[in-house]
């Protein structure tokens, strides 16, 4: 089937001249014009754009298109502006969006107003053999507004390629072929002052191997500071749960960087800010916990027999209530003068130039050397501890290993840009598998305690509470079984991570030369 071709009408032509372009050459019929407002959507962290997708609400239709070639993937009729994927009716569009945007809100990014006319090109039987659509684009709906650009879209009809070829030639004389959707998307976002891909929760850092360690540490910390700043408004407006999540990860990474990238700043400075960020992290602990439980409500319910699924709802209603309070506390904290002071102080420190002759022992060392040393040391500790656990399985040891792995993961992410990208990605992926196993084990153990504890807080004079308590007991038992399964998988998961091939990769990338040659 022929694909649609789009042309951008040259400035010297008026859309009204299209008639002349066709008259005498083609028989045609003009359909009444349609006026639409198009709104482009994406999540705060550009999940659609990163996959080269565009979601637009145009007229009464929500459509997902491929950004590069404008290919329509899915669409559905819907008057409401989309917010979460679960607001959409069951449909292929929703199925495609769900794994991409997950719990994130779709934000309206930019609008354009279009007025379209369709010319149906007819053959001798008055059969439509091609369509020509002119689209005038304006920033507002009124016809008095100036037209920013006019597109001519040729939509071939299957089985009549000759007409489309002839038309394409004529259109090429009055305009230039353009990927229309891409053109519209980028120009509309630019007018709305939005930069696609400008925010990501991931650490996209580019460090220089030879740069001093203290200056490099500041590059990392400044990036994390920006992430915190970028998410504050979304937390306060309670748009979705992931603003807080990204914000907290930035805090954890900051704390990890401060304590792991050793001796690059004066000790008292490091200690001071470590304490500050510990306090900042505590402010949001409760809210994040509640978010996690509420996000998994459906999963928890699915673990129960069908007859019990409704019974547990009072527990989650109670958590929802707690969440409202927790959110208020967080907002209050973010608005407090104490918070503003701490952030200002931190920003000032980040902006200070590094001293010419620092006291800190590692401050002037090239960052790549320090990175190698730290990563390799942490890696060997993970292997040593894991081996020990294989011999003596104790739950507390697994917990400690989980923390070690997390520290190693953060280090590898901070310094990923200093090492070969593919190798790093592979090693991080393998580390992640081990972390998932340890993380699941830990989550399951925390969940059992937390859920039981919360269920006990339900008012006992309400008969619904008793049912909820029974259901929670059942759920906790199920989680306990699951935890045993996860634990049983540890040995294999660890063995894979500690495989000789992997150890060799770590040694080659991170062991310092002196050590290797010894």
């Amino acid at each position: 089937m022929g694909t649609n071709l789009h042309f951008r009408l040259s400035d010297e032509y008026e859309p009204g001249q299209i008639d002349q372009l066709l008259t005498g050459k083609f028989a045609f019929l003009v359909e009444p014009p349609t006026v639409e407002k198009w709104t482009f959507y994406d999540t705060f962290d550009w999940r659609l754009f990163n996959r080269s997708l565009v979601l637009r609400h145009a007229g009464r239709e929500i459509g997902l298109d491929q950004l590069s070639d404008g290919e329509a993937l899915n669409c559905l009729t819907c008057d409401l502006a989309p917010e979460f994927f679960w607001d959409l009716p069951e449909s292929p569009l929703r199925e495609r969006l769900e794994p991409i945007i997950k719990m994130r809100t779709l934000l309206p990014l930019a609008d354009v107003h279009t007025q379209s006319m369709t010319y149906r090109i007819l053959n001798a039987d008055e059969k439509t053999v091609a369509r020509l659509v002119t689209t005038e684009v304006r920033t507002a709906g009124e016809e008095s507004e100036p037209v920013l650009v006019t597109y001519l879209s040729l939509r071939p009809v299957r089985g009549y390629p000759k007409y489309s070829r002839k038309l394409a030639k004529r259109l090429g004389r009055v305009g230039t072929e353009t990927p229309m959707l891409e053109d519209l998307y980028f120009s509309a976002l630019e007018r709305a002052d939005r930069k696609p891909g400008s925010y990501s929760g991931k650490l996209n850092l580019q460090l220089k191997s030879k740069k001093r360690s203290d200056a490099s540490a500041k590059v990392i910390l400044r990036y994390l500071f920006e992430v915190m700043k970028a998410n504050e408004a979304g937390i306060k407006a309670d748009i979705d749960t992931e603003y807080l999540h990204d914000y907290r990860i930035a805090i954890r990474r900051t704390r990890s960087a401060l304590s792991q990238i050793r001796n690059v700043f004066p000790t008292e400075v490091t200690e001071h800010f470590k304490q500050e960020f510990r306090t900042l992290g505590q402010l949001t602990n409760q809210l994040r916990d509640l978010d996690v439980y509420l996000l998994s409500e459906g999963e928890f319910q699915a673990r129960l027999p069908e007859a019990m699924r409704e019974d547990i709802v009072p527990l989650f209603d109670y958590l929802r209530l707690l969440r409202n309070h927790a959110l208020e506390e967080v907002i209050e904290g973010l608005l407090s003068s104490e918070y503003a002071r701490a952030m200002n102080e931190w920003e000032e420190f980040l902006n200070e130039p590094v001293p010419k002759e620092p006291d800190a022992a590692n401050a002037t060392m090239p960052i790549v050397e320090l990175a190698r040393k730290m990563i390799y040391k942490r890696y060997r500790r993970v292997i040593r501890d894991g081996d020990y656990i294989l011999a003596h399985t104790k739950d507390e040891l697994l917990h400690a290993l989980r923390i070690e792995c997390k520290k190693l993961r953060y280090l590898m992410e901070f310094f990923a840009s200093l090492f070969p990208r593919k190798k790093m990605a592979r090693l991080i992926k393998q580390l992640k598998k081990l972390q998932d196993n340890l993380g699941n084990f830990n989550d399951l153990s925390v969940q059992q305690e937390y859920l039981m504890h919360m269920a006990e807080e339900l008012p006992l004079d309400d008969p619904r509470s008793r049912k909820a308590l029974v259901a929670t007991g059942y759920l906790v038992e199920k989680l306990g079984y699951r935890q045993k399964e996860v634990k049983a998988n540890f040995a294999d998961t660890f063995a894979e991570f500690a495989s000789p091939a992997n150890q060799k990769s770590f040694r080659q990338l991170f062991a310092t030369k002196r050590k290797a040659g010894r």
Binding site: R120, E126, K127, T128, P156, V157, G159
Partner: protein, 251 residues
């Protein structure tokens, strides 16, 4: 993807009109639809203003292992394509007879389109030989128009017993009344009798209406040239029932 065949071993019962109007309504509802005109009389092709391939050398449906997608034509409507009637269809029976696995030919020919279309509607000529069996094998569901006459009812009974005898599943056989005159007592009685004695008789009926005959003048589906007419509403109702009862059930 569903393949729905408008089938009857009697002629002139409103197969093509139903196929054309249902295909149009399906496409309007958002299903990417292909209508295959298997009847050498090419009526469905004519309604969509497409020229049938009447030269014997044309690329045929059954000249076979070649792709037929190059024969497919877009219609005047979004989401709706047509496989035009082909002169070689006249000899479909003979061609199928010569080939191995001769009763599965049509099914295999349509297989490549399962990905591309949500719904394929077959408009078939009246037949009960090898082509018919190809249709039974290819279609997920048969939709049989019945005219309210004793003969038509008898023919339908024959069809059901043929399907049973030859081990074709008999669920997936649906019928609806066409050319109904609500004022005639006999029409009402026959419809009631059929509902009591056959499975799969749909509630919707297509009345005898001039708008259906005018399709040949306008060369458009009824809901396209007379959207508010009784005929259009009747097809709309029939389509909704098919969508609910047959297509949604299959999912």
């Amino acid at each position: 993807m569903t393949i729905l065949a408008l089938y009857s071993n009697k002629g002139g019962v409103g197969k093509t009109a139903a196929a054309v109007n249902l295909a149009y309504l399906a496409a309007q509802s958002g299903l990417v639809t292909l209508i295959c005109d298997l009847d050498p009389q090419a009526s469905a092709t004519f309604y969509f203003r497409v020229k049938p391939k009447l030269k014997p050398k044309a690329r045929g449906l059954v000249r076979a292992h070649k792709p037929i997608d190059r024969s497919i034509k877009g219609t005047d409507y979004e989401n709706l394509d047509l496989l035009p009637a082909d002169f070689t269809h006249r000899n479909l029976d003979i061609t199928f007879n010569r080939q191995r696995s001769r009763k599965q030919q049509l099914k295999e020919i349509l297989n490549p389109f399962r990905e591309e279309y949500d719904l394929i509607i077959l408009d078939t000529p009246p037949t009960i030989n090898i082509l018919a069996e190809n249709i039974f094998n290819a279609a997920d569901d048969l939709l049989v128009p019945l005219i309210p006459s004793t003969l038509s009812i008898q023919t339908h009974a024959q069809l059901l017993s043929f399907l049973k005898k030859n081990k074709y599943r008999s669920n997936g056989v649906y019928s609806f009344f066409s050319f109904v005159d609500g004022r005639k007592k006999m029409h009402r009685e026959l419809a009631t009798w059929a509902r009591g004695n056959f499975n799969g008789v749909l509630r919707s009926v297509i009345p005898y209406l001039s708008h259906v005959e005018q399709m040949g003048i306008y060369r458009e589906p009824v809901p396209a040239f007379a959207p508010a007419s009784r005929a259009s509403k009747a097809y709309q109702e029939l389509w909704e029932e098919i969508h609910q009862e047959i297509l949604n059930e299959r999912k």
